[in-house]
Amino acid sequence: MPATVAQSLAFGILVGALYALAAVGLSLVFGVTKFLNVAHGEFLMFGGYASFWLFTLLGVDPFASIPLSMLFLVLIGLLVYRLLFSRMAKLPTQEKIRNTLLVGFGLGLILQNVALRLWTADNRGITPSYAREALTILGVRLPYVRVASLILAFVFLFALQLFLRRTYTGKAIRATVEDWEAATLMGIDVHRVYLLSFLLAAALAGAAGTLVAVGYSVEPTMGMHWTLKGLIVLVMGGIGSITGTLVGGLILGVAESATAVFINSNYRQVVGLVIFILVLLIRPQGLFGTKEG
């Protein structure tokens, strides 16, 4: 029993890092632009497929294809932003949240069905030669690809943190999160900041998609699950806090594993949703976040 528990805990942490990576883009975009882009999970799915096909057709190593997958998502993000989201950038906040949510919802539906038509409903995983190899510590099996994914997720989150803290552009993004009018008075072009954070989020979704495809698998309807994971992590971690997002992601991963071990593996998807509802009702500003407008 303890061995199973340790193994589950390990798997929970490994997948939790990906939850955090999937959530951070959603959180960034929401914080900066007040867009609730529920098609974020579909972005992630497209990233996964990009790497899957690069591997299957051209033999590109999945980890090497991460930049390509990110670039692909930046292009999709640019198209989606210009066509759809830029039109809602100037709406009053509550209306903006509602409309972006609806548009994101419709977009998700479209992307999901496009994927279904193009690539069928099959589950696809990337299986390079080293896919089955694992590190074993004290009887706990740690597949290399998942460990590498965890490390990469941490690297991405750390890099994003550094970017937001250290660079002028990053500070402009944080200023826009706090008070876009005051940011405008600094000479910051908030609409460029909107676009930038949207593209950044899309790129991070691309990277997350690749890591999901290599450690797990992708299929057309996965988008909503990942959007929900992102939203769960977002309400736990609070908006705009990268540390909160990371902790929230890891907690979600571990909570799912614990449910699988102690209750029933069929309910692992439910626990996050229950946490989500409870957090919404008890602490609408997030477990770790401070009050946000």
């Binding site: 509602r98 949510l101 609806l102 548009v103 539906l109 909503m224 989500f276 919404l280 609408p284």
Partner: protein, 326 residues
Amino acid sequence: MTVKKIIPVALLVVGVMVLWLVPTFIKSDSAVNLLILTFIYVMLAVSWNILGGYTGQVNLGHAAFFGLGTLATRLLYTSGFHIFPSLLAAGVVAVVFSMFIGIPAFRLRLRGDYFTIGTLALSQILYITVGNVLPKITYLPIEDIQNYQLNLRYYLILALALFTIGVAYMLAKSRLGLGMMAVRENEDAAEALGVNAFSHKLLALALSAFLGGLAGGAYAYYQTSYYFNYTFTPLWSLDPVTITFVGGVGTVIGPVIGAVFFVLVKEFLVLRMGEYHLIVFGILFILVVLFLPGGLVEAWERVRQAIARRLKYRETAVPSLELRKD
């Protein structure tokens, strides 16, 4: 009563009569099936609209009400209850469930977007849970299948759809409905005018859940076999939202038009190029949200006004010509 008021009433009566006579004259089961499906979509969209359109609380988990309705009716009906109490149970179960999210969310004055994602999450919880507890296909009782009365179901579901539309219509015309719309436009201002936002939102939710559950009940009575959790899939949440917006959110007739349009587009596209209707409808939905917030109803209204303007122009132009003759 003026002519203007008689025309819609007459149209309604004729329409209902035509629908009532369909099974008598049209012997095609597929046409009747298609109409039944349309009625169910009408019920789903109209019921969604009561909460989403009248009070502006976007619910992305309507499948929960629909699914619970199917579950209640199916379980009771297959265990020997008459269909009427089974249908009633569908509505009641959905209402009871809706209170679990409605009371805390509206009491806390949770922001609209939190309510929205909350409903999405709740419907997912149900979907997974039902899939785990009842991981099997449900069949109608054997005697029902062997002696399947399609026409009986047609009339019953048509009546349920008319009932749903009737409730939505009466509500829209009532003080209660006006209060709901005031809450949608500006919650604080509505409260200042003496409208209790909490009770109005809660009542809209209850009605929406009841009628959504009823739609589920109708589906359970109609469909011979399906997986228990099929009626909880997210698509049953998505469809009423897109249908209502495309038709015209917040109006009585919009969701009805949207549902008919949806089924037509679906049938047409399935014939022409396979399962592309969701992509097409998704695009339509986005276009409506971005450019035509009133949906098809608003589009029609604009066309009508343009025509009226042109006619008016002609009317005023004619006498002036005659004047010139003098």
